[in-house]
């Protein structure tokens, strides 16, 4: 009974903090922090960190004393959850600003998207660095390469990953095979990307003429090794949470299991699956190391995945940063590298958006109970 008595039984509005409380407490914390800072020497990060460290407990104490323990705890976590979001924005904003500041000049170079590195030479870079000419060279070959290689990797991994998840969730009765698959998928999540690359290179090396083993497809195979576990793990989680009653409703209508999976289970989980696939794509489209050892280093446009070297954007970025076209005038290379990075990010953003739109078209309508 005493436990019951400790439940809040006071009046409904008694002891509610006014709406502006967080702002007031925040302002107070900033002021106190500024005071502390002025004693030990002002700096911006320190100011904010100390203010935050003051804000969290003050909010908690304020809410706790006025609104009660329960509300105090709730406020505390609200502050933490919101802080997590803001905290994550910091690196994001920093990276994006870095990208924009460094990448826009490259992106705005004439022909940056429409030309390759075939005719960009050390001399043209030196001239450009000396202000005597435009920056030649572009990323067309790398852009096309990235798209093709990633597409190939997606075409390999998504069906395998999706079907494996279906097997794990819908078919396997937790037998040894499903355990083995789960186990190995887990292990695959931690393969260093370069090892995946080495594996892909070794595999194709032994399957085709070594002279021809460096090609876009080899890179796609290596990327698939990285992509599959991400697809499987995220899809499995999404399929698992589809309510069984929907499956049963479908079975009860005399619908075959595979149709139930395709038309009931997957559409219900599509938003999560799309998220997972996009995540997997985003991961591999930004990979450098495995491509370095599988696709060679092309400077011209190649649209054939099965023949000749290919360039991708991350490799392009890496090479331009690490081995500038002109060692004596690195400016143009750095400009191209950041420009390419910006393009890559825009590309992934576009993919992401597309995936969301597709998912939304199928997703369960968000209404009510």
């Amino acid at each position: 009974m005493s436990a019951v008595a400790t439940l809040q039984k006071s009046s409904l509005t008694a002891g509610r903090l006014p709406r502006w409380t967080p702002w007031a407490v925040g302002a107070g914390a900033l002021a106190v922090s500024a005071g502390i800072m002025s004693l030990i020497g002002f700096n911006l990060p320190g100011w904010i960190v100390i203010a935050w460290l003051l804000f969290v407990p003050s909010m908690f104490v304020a809410a706790r004393t006025v609104e009660g323990h329960q509300a105090g705890v709730d406020r505390f976590w609200t502050v933490l959850v919101c802080s997590a979001f803001v905290l994550a924005l910091l690196p994001l904003v920093s990276v994006i600003v870095t990208l924009l500041v460094n990448g826009l000049p490259g992106l705005l170079d004439p022909g940056f998207l429409a030309s390759t590195m075939q005719y960009a030479t050390s001399q043209t870079d030196q001239a450009a660095a000396a202000g005597e000419g435009p920056v030649y060279g572009g990323i067309l070959h790398a852009l096309v390469g990235s798209v093709l290689v990633t597409l190939a990797a997606t075409v390999i991994s998504v069906p395998i990953g999706l079907f494996t998840s279906i097997y794990l969730v819908e078919y396997s009765q937790d037998g040894w095979l499903s355990r083995a698959i789960t186990f190995f998928v887990d292990v695959m999540t931690g393969i260093p990307s370069i090892v995946a690359g080495l594996f892909g290179a070794a595999l194709l090396f032994s399957l085709v003429d070594p002279q021809d083993s460096l090609m876009g497809f080899t890179a796609a195979v290596a990327l698939s090794v990285l992509m599959i576990p991400v697809v499987v793990r995220s899809t499995v989680e999404m399929l698992r949470v589809v309510p069984n009653e929907l499956r049963e409703a479908s079975y009860a209508l005399g619908v075959r299991k595979w149709r139930t999976i395709v038309q009931v289970v997957i559409p219900t989980a599509i938003s999560g699956i799309a998220s997972g696939v996009t995540l997997a794509i985003a991961r591999v489209i930004g990979e450098t190391a495995p491509i370095l050892v599988t696709a060679g280093v092309a400077v011209r446009l190649n649209t054939n995945l099965f023949n000749d070297w290919m360039m991708t954007l991350p490799v392009f970025i890496f090479r331009q940063l690490q081995n500038p076209t002109s060692p004596t005038a690195v400016g143009p290379s750095i400009e191209r590298a950041w420009g390419a990075a910006l393009v890559l990010v825009l590309l992934v953003m576009a993919l992401n958006l597309a995936a969301r739109l597709i998912a939304r078209a199928f997703a369960p309508k968000q209404t009510g109970r």
């Binding site: 499956r247 079975y251 209508l253 619908v255 038309q263 199928f362 309508k365 209404t367």
Partner: protein, 259 residues
């Protein structure tokens, strides 16, 4: 079109837990059979074995025979999907498909099976089924809205519409009216009365009045105690069960003197 159902020494298990034991029952075609009994006695469980939904749960198994017009649906080689397309089911909890509109929910039995039909036919089936489930007037203006935006009772009637749309030969109903208001309940009861001319119907209900109103025969299930298996105690004409049951516990239950 209608089929008889016969269970012979049927035991139903969840893993190693025997939930229902030794059921012997013969349900005639074109009759309505009501299952009554206290909570947890295995009505739902037994009902689900009748269209092989039971085995959808992990580790759920069945022993014995269940004959659908003399064909054992648990014989090896029987395709459970075929069974289910002949034996439809309405669940205790309404479960419309959240990704589908109301119309598509009604047509789910066709759509999900990849059966194409003209718009006219689709509209006709939709209307007939929704009218059959007494839902048409309420939703006819929002057939393209998601089915999950309906009230509980509306959702349940939508599920009934979905089931009768595919015109199965046997319809199993697990407390179909527990979420319905009296009017819808009445409509569903009327519907059952009509459907019985062509179909075999089995209905689980907690409502004695309902059982006595709609059913030709009634089966009373009981359970001796927690952890014990549920058993079929008595199965007879509904009049007989409600007026003059031959087993004492049936009478206790019906008259509310139970427990």
């Amino acid at each position: 079109m209608s089929k008889s159902i016969e269970a012979i020494d049927l035991d139903v298990y969840y893993g190693s837990f025997l939930a229902v034991e030794g059921v012997n029952i013969r349900i005639e075609p074109r009759t309505v059979t009501a299952f009554i009994g206290p909570s947890g006695c295995g009505k739902t469980t037994f009902l689900r074995t009748m269209n092989r939904m039971h085995e959808v749960l992990p580790n759920a198994t069945v022993k014995g025979q269940l004959l659908l017009d003399a064909e054992d649906i648990y014989a090896s080689g029987v395709d459970p999907v075929r069974v289910r397309s002949k034996v439809g089911m309405v669940f205790q909890r309404p479960n419309p498909f959240p990704t589908m509109s109301i119309r598509d929910n009604v047509l789910a039995g066709f759509r999900l099976n990849g059966i194409r039909m003209g718009k006219a036919q689709a509209d006709e089936i939709t209307e007939r089924s929704l009218k059959g489930a007494n839902l048409w007037n309420e939703v006819k203006d929002r057939l393209d809205k998601p089915g999950s935006g309906l009230s509980g009772g509306q959702q349940q009637r939508l599920c009934i519409a979905r089931t009768i749309a595919v015109q199965p030969e046997v319809i199993l109903m697990d407390e179909p009216c527990s979420a319905l208001d009296p009017i819808s309940t009445l409509a569903v009861e009327d519907l059952i009365g009509e459907l019985k001319e062509h179909y075999t119907i089995v209905i689980v209900t907690h409502n004695m009045q309902q059982a006595s109103r709609v059913s030709d025969k009634t089966a009373f299930f009981n359970i001796a105690g927690t952890g014990k298996p549920g058993k079929l105690i008595e199965f007879d004409y509904t009049d007989k069960i409600f007026s003059n049951p031959s087993v004492q516990s049936t009478e206790d239950y019906i008259t509310g003197r139970f427990g």
